[in-house]
Amino acid sequence: MADQVKYPGRLISVDGTRGKDVTLAANDIVARLKHDGIECAVSRWDASGLFTDMAAGIGGDRNVSIRTLSLVYAADLAFRLRWEIRPVLEAGGVVIAAPYIDTAAAFGAICGLDEEWLRRLMRFAPAAGYRGLVDERKIDRPWKRRTDRGYAEYGALLLEAAAPKRVSKPARRRMMTMLDRARGRKVYHLTNKGIGALAKALIGSRKDASRPSASRPRNGHK
């Protein structure tokens, strides 16, 4: 079930607490990589349209739990992997998943779910090679309750009535703290400098990958 395939492509995750900032950070990475001669694809939240359809269907009745929302996130992620992420990785390209697993795990955790449950649920998704964390603006403000901005904003709207404290202003800070944990891989803070460092690391790894292996006999060697 777990995706342990070694893809020739590169996967960059971009996570954050605010949908707009995640979108902007992904755009900044695209622009930077393009400047360095690398084309890349972007996979965004709700590419499947599940959340949009759900918002249209529920209307005023917001009797949806964080566990249900997390399962919808996982279904949307499965769609994105199938149509947007894996094809690029298999073709050896670069793809940005904005947002990816960490956003759902951190938001679910601050809303009372076990983080490990969330991570195991999404274990069908390959691990990102590069983890980007959005440089948040307006961190001291609560989430805007909207269905069209990002996962956290969407969740804040739906969970507001049942669990207002879970989606309050301090909750957003707690989510940021959770996202900031390293979890065994370098985190790139997506400021201008951070994006530059990420691009440099990515370009370096692609050069390494194209270089012949030192252990392989080259032409003329017996």
Binding site: M1, N63, L71, A74, A163
Partner: protein
Amino acid sequence: MPRSPSARRIKKLIAEREASRGLLIAFEGPDGSGKTTQRKLLKRWLESQNHQVVSTRWASSALVKPMLKVRKKIRTLSIEEYSLLHAVDFRHRVETSILPALWAGQTVLADRYLFTALARDAARGLDLDWLLHAYSPLLWPDLVIYFSMTPEDSRRRVASTRAPHFYEAGQDVTGIEDPLASYGRFIDRVVKEYNNLSVVFQFMTVDAGDAVYRQHTRVRELVEKSGKRPWPTFSKEAVEEWLTKSNIRGA
């Protein structure tokens, strides 16, 4: 603003409710095994005994049904998406219709339950451990009635009434163009999975080949004999989570 009830109070509430809560009965079995007929007969009988009865059907939540319907129609669902959307439907029904009805003392008859997902999705190649994880925390039924039949009989019965649709026929995994031929192959795997599950989860088996009235008599006997699977032992986490979220009086 709803107050968050303390863990101790919730534990006490669940224990107190155990005697008056309703019974959850799941009807499982391959397509064409007569689950719906038996569920309706049992409902009528229970109501004649002055029980309040609520029925719930697979993939029927108002939240998910429209989304699933359109995606099934255009055949765009991957195995994981198919499985996860059914998990969304199941969770939503557990939280919004099954648990509230049980809490109010009503008997709930589930026309297909968790085991349908386990059998179908495992037959599609998904890992059973991951499936159980996606459906957790589990709300265990008090009784699972399994309508047992061979894959050949299921195929014959389905063929006599309709052509199975794309996902029901398992065409997404078999790759066979003819729906009935695909169904024949797919249901073979599903029945194997059901048979394994019936041992592990102690289903009560009814022979789906028997006459309808005989099956109904057996179903009645099973229901009369059935005890409750205590929530504090079997379904604590699921009920606690629902109570924490819901603004139940006393919680």
